[in-house]
């Protein structure tokens, strides 16, 4: 379930895996990948603002040229995904749909922060928010899995 996925464990040491090449030549264990953290759930009052927090760590250097951030939204009881926000070098707020003029960048890439803020929250904002971060060449997540993290969002 989505809630199980969006816990804030630290993936680091527990998920080491050895790259076959390194194991053969030097026996060195190699940890690589990106880890993404979001809160499990958020409850927000209709009409107020909420910061969707997403933080990340990467084994490779984080720069403005290597990072892309993609926020997607899945409504309750629906499989379809909608683009909420995109960042590649510069923020790209939504220019259409329910989040138009309501989603702004509130992150700090160099600090590993990919958060956005939703203003004037509507009942149609109920659902799952997925934060996906890439930091070239870290695109595969720890152990090749889990390249995004998500939050469930409930409107009061």
């Amino acid at each position: 379930s989505w809630l199980e996925l969006s816990t804030t464990h630290c993936y680091g040491n527990a998920d080491e895996h050895s790259s076959p090449l390194f194991a053969f030549t030097t026996g060195v264990r190699h940890v690589s990948g990106i880890n993404i953290y979001t809160p499990n759930e958020l409850e927000v009052v209709n009409g107020t603002s909420v910061r969707l927090k997403c933080t990340f760590t990467s084994t490779h250097k984080v720069t403005l040229q290597t990072v892309t951030v993609s926020w997607n939204f899945r409504p309750l009881n629906s499989g379809s995904e909608e683009s909420v926000f995109f960042y590649q070098g510069t923020p790209f707020p939504p220019n259409m749909g329910r989040f138009k003029d309501r989603a702004v960048w509130s992150g700090d890439i160099l600090r590993g922060d990919a958060s956005i803020t939703l203003n004037d929250v509507r009942p149609t904002f109920n659902g799952t928010y997925i934060c996906q971060v890439r930091n070239l060449p870290d695109v595969h997540g720890s152990n090749g899995e889990k390249v995004s993290s998500n939050s469930e969002f409930y409107l009061l």
């Binding site: 790259s19 683009s83 070239l136 090749g144």
Partner: protein
């Protein structure tokens, strides 16, 4: 016009174990592709679970030509099995999955972003179904032989046999006896 991108894939794909499967993905972008474009394929198994990256591509544009740089997975089920088949200039972001296995059943998502065209429908997905290599066709032929050709052959041989070797006894008994007797006189 509002800057947007529209990505399309086939909703479903069916293939057999061992096939090379083309996962097609096309896109229409308000602006022409630039070197900021990215193509991102991910996969979620049929059995459920978190999405995995299948391949990520970034591009550079020099001398009127796009060249791509791929970031395939270093381990996992797709290592060395993904080939880039797309072309940014042609609006094509397709990939090929080599030597399909039954483990590849699941949903493949194609995501294309061409800044500033990053909103609209930047993702689309295909549900892939891989089935074992068929013995099915062979047994269809066997059924055809058994139920149709074989009885037909038997009947044909029987009829030809009757034509070649007619039995006298048989023909006599079948002679028609008219109720009207012809009398001479």
């Amino acid at each position: 016009t509002v800057s947007s991108i529209l990505v399309k894939t086939r909703a479903e794909l069916h293939a057999s174990k061992g096939d090379d499967v083309t996962l097609s993905c096309t896109f229409t972008s308000s602006n022409t592709p630039t070197s900021k474009m990215t193509v991102d394929w991910s996969y979620r198994p049929q059995t459920g679970g978190p999405p995995q990256t299948v391949i990520l591509l970034i591009f550079s544009y020099t001398f009127f030509h796009f060249s791509s740089r791929a970031f395939p997975p270093l381990d996992g089920q797709f290592t060395s099995r993904i080939q880039w088949k797309g072309s940014p200039a042609r609006g094509d972001a397709s990939i090929s999955l080599v030597n399909a296995t039954l483990n590849d059943n699941g949903t493949f998502t194609c995501s294309v972003r061409n800044p500033p065209d990053v909103h609209g429908s930047p993702t689309s997905h295909t549900v892939l179904t891989i089935t074992p290599k068929g013995n099915i066709r062979f047994s269809d032929v066997a059924v055809l032989l058994a139920l149709i050709l074989l009885p037909s052959a038997v009947i044909t041989v029987f009829l030809i046999g009757r034509m070649i070797c007619p039995r006298k006894k048989h023909s006599k008994s079948k002679a028609y006896r008219s109720p009207i007797e012809v009398t001479e006189g």
